[in-house]
């Protein structure tokens, strides 16, 4: 009973020990907030990375040549042992190109490199989250390269700068290719509108397989806005058959996107396809393998931040250790008295361990509560701070998120709290053992 009694008294009378509690509290709260943001960021980013790629990608080892008869390849895949695990498949051509366009009012045309993807919009929707990233509402419901009302209206209004004589295939252009935001502006300025004509210059298979440059005109039908600058700044989608013509790849493709019923089957599917398809022609990988470096970079970043923040708690642990070591010296006489009155060495050890645990529980518990509240209120706090300071703490145009992404995982909270408790208790072990070894006779002899 004396252990609980004295711990209770120490908690309410020894304010130096509360400094250790404050360190643990701050460490735990910060770890929870940072982890929630990092996890939220990682999850959103994975969603977006996954959005443009299907679960498994079969690519031609020679992209400019591609592979013939994609429908036959897909049939072989369907009939293989993993055919029942596949939810959908679609062929595509993906290649590098130069985009040329002339914004209204500009004297000269502008050019920039892009990644051009030839797709069947319907098939693309079956293997990934494509439609939801399209800006036009009609296309969100039913994606198409047909010009919608906004594009037709724009062409009507700008008939002086467009070529009405011929009809060109439609194209869906990355949002950041088509727009820009000048410094200090809070809206996007359009360089290319739906209805604008653009020229694509790419490398086509010429006579005898010799590559040769080829240009073709497209009309912008819609914009693609995934909020991932990696995609919005680089990608442009055109009809598969149009790109096949441009590239001299009639009846060919250079990728097959495969959507699985359960992504957990991805390793098995990849392993099987590597056996089914000749590896000299095909490269098979999951979307995670393709985006490996980016995902790994975020993972490493999260790990390093966690490691750094955990040092805060480690420092708190040393705070407890030094506080307790001082306390053992200060309490030598009291420890001697307790032993003289019949307290055991184990009891004295437990007194300090329970006290350390109590400090840990209070620090980690309060830290967890504050961390959770801060996490849920983080966006409101960010907005208030931005308003008060006039400095944008979370620039939305850099991160392309409408708000700070947050994902609070209960298992993470439990791990952080348990780790902090462990440190608090471990820090109390040495002073506790030292206290237990004290001889009552030595401590009581002199004042």
């Amino acid at each position: 009973m004396y252990i609980l009694k004295l711990c209770g008294k120490y908690m309410t009378t020894r304010y130096t020990a509360l400094a250790s509690v404050a360190s643990i509290l701050l460490g735990v709260a910060t770890l929870i907030v940072v982890n929630s943001v990092m996890t939220g960021f990682r999850t959103k980013m994975r969603e977006r990375l996954h959005g443009i790629l299907s679960d498994v990608v079969v690519e031609a080892r020679a992209p400019l040549t591609g592979f013939p008869e994609p429908d036959y390849i897909m049939k072989r895949i369907s009939q293989s042992s993993i055919g029942d695990k596949i939810a959908g498949m679609t062929p595509a051509i993906e290649t590098l190109a130069i985009l040329t366009y002339k914004p209204k009012g500009y004297a000269n045309a502008l050019t920039r490199p892009v990644q051009i993807v030839g797709i069947d919009p319907k098939g693309r929707c079956e293997v990934g989250d494509f439609a939801s990233h399209l800006v036009n509402k009609e296309n969100k419901a039913q994606p198409s390269f047909e010009l919608r009302a906004d594009a037709l209206e724009w062409r009507q209004a700008n008939s002086d700068i467009i070529d009405q004589k011929e009809s060109w295939p439609g194209a869906i252009v990355g949002y950041q290719i088509a727009t820009f935001r000048a410094q200090g502006m809070n809206y996007d300025e359009y360089l290319v509108y739906p209805g604008n004509e653009v020229i694509i210059t790419t490398v086509a298979n010429g006579d005898g397989g010799r590559p040769e440059p080829k240009s073709y005109k497209f009309v912008v039908a819609d914009l693609y806005k995934s909020d991932m600058s990696e995609y919005d700044d680089r990608y442009m989608f055109v009809p598969l058959d149009a790109l096949q013509n441009v590239c001299g790849m009639q009846g060919r493709a250079n990728t097959i996107q495969i959507k699985l019923k359960d992504f957990a089957d991805a390793p098995l599917v990849v392993e099987t396809l590597r056996k089914v398809l000749p590896q000299m022609v095909f490269v098979v990988s999951t979307w995670e393998e393709k985006q490996g470096p980016l995902i790994y970079a975020v993972k490493v970043e999260a790990f390093l931040i966690n490691l750094t923040l955990f040092f805060i708690i480690a420092v708190a642990g040393f705070g407890i250790l030094s506080t307790f070591a001082m306390m053992v010296i200060e309490k030598t006489r009291d420890i001697g008295l307790l032993k003289a009155l019949g307290a055991s060495s184990t009891g004295i050890t437990n007194l300090f361990l329970v006290y350390g645990s109590a400090l840990g529980i209070i620090g980690a518990g309060a830290g967890a509560v504050i961390g959770i509240i801060l996490t849920y209120k983080l966006n409101a706090i960010e907005e208030t701070l931005t308003e008060l300071t006039g400095f944008e703490i979370f620039p939305r145009d850099i991160y392309y998120f409408d708000e700070i992404p947050i994902l609070l995982e209960p298992s993470m909270v439990v791990m952080v709290v348990a780790g902090s408790l462990f440190i608090a208790i471990a820090a109390a072990v040495y002073p506790a053992r030292r206290a237990a070894r004290l001889q009552p006779v030595e401590t009581l002899r002199y004042e």
Binding site: M1, Y2, L4, K5, L6, K9, Y10, T13, R333, D334, G336, L337, L338, K339, A340, L341, G342, A343, S344, S345, G347, Q439, P440, V441, L444, R445, E447
Partner: protein, 250 residues
């Protein structure tokens, strides 16, 4: 036949106790002390500073072990008992009163008195018996004249009040023997007399055996028997209890 009190039954016996301290070289403190304490006896051990009085008391109370010799409690060897058995002895059978009171500064007077039972009992047992224990501690504090100081902390008490609290604490477990180490040594003469008087009264009320270590010969003369410790040897070797016998040798 009436039960005589004090009795001639030996309750605590020390045979050939040797103890040395090692501070660079070996410093012998006790060189073969033989002592017998009868049940109910009030024994005073006197001696000059550094004569080994406190060391002897610590060995008798199992706070320290002798280098040689044996301590017997009610006929059973005590000094070689297990650590837990010796802890039990200190908690239940023996009460200590120290020169410097040794009260826990975080606890109030009442809580300080309750400490031995807090050590003995787990939280559940303590809570079950708390009412009874508080009542007993309050009665003891009332007996030592501190009923008005129950919630005061040691820092708010005078030296005499702190020693009264320590005496109440020593009596809480209803021990059979009280070992007092210079209980008046840190008090002025008047308060010292009062504390000594209190100890004597309580001993008679509770039929306690009292071993008191002091350098104050005038206080020691009021004991049933007085022994002098000199040169590490207890100069008297009376094994038979003789009421009010004052034996000085050397």
């Amino acid at each position: 036949m009436s039960n005589p009190w004090p009795t001639s039954e030996t309750i605590l016996r020390a045979d050939g106790i040797h103890k040395s301290f090692h501070k660079g070289s070996e410093v012998p403190v006790l060189r073969g002390v033989d002592l017998q304490v009868a049940r109910g006896e009030f024994l005073a051990i006197v001696g000059s500073s550094g004569s080994g009085k406190t060391t002897l008391l610590h060995i008798l109370g199992t706070l320290d072990r002798p280098d040689q010799g044996e301590v017997h409690w009610r006929g059973e060897r005590l000094d070689n008992q297990s650590t837990s058995a010796r802890e039990r002895f200190r908690n239940k059978s023996c009460g200590f009163v120290f020169q410097f009171y040794h009260l826990l500064p975080e606890l109030n007077t009442l809580e300080n008195v309750l400490v031995p039972r807090m050590i003995e009992l787990g939280p559940m047992s303590y809570w079950r018996q708390k009412k009874k224990l508080v009542q007993r501690a309050t009665e003891l504090l009332d007996r030592v004249g501190l009923s008005h100081r129950l919630t005061h902390r040691p820092a708010e008490l005078s030296g005499g009040e702190m020693q009264r609290t320590a005496i109440a604490r020593a009596l809480l477990s209803e021990p059979e023997i009280l070992l007092a180490d210079e209980p008046t040594g840190n008090l002025d003469a008047e308060t010292g007399q009062s504390i000594f008087g209190l100890l004597s009264e309580l001993r008679e009320e509770a039929r306690l055996t009292l071993v008191l270590v002091t350098h104050d010969v005038s206080l020691a003369q009021r004991a049933d028997r007085t022994c002098r410790l000199a040169q590490g040897v207890l100069v008297t070797s009376h094994t038979e209890f003789r009421p009010r016998a004052t034996i000085f040798a050397g």
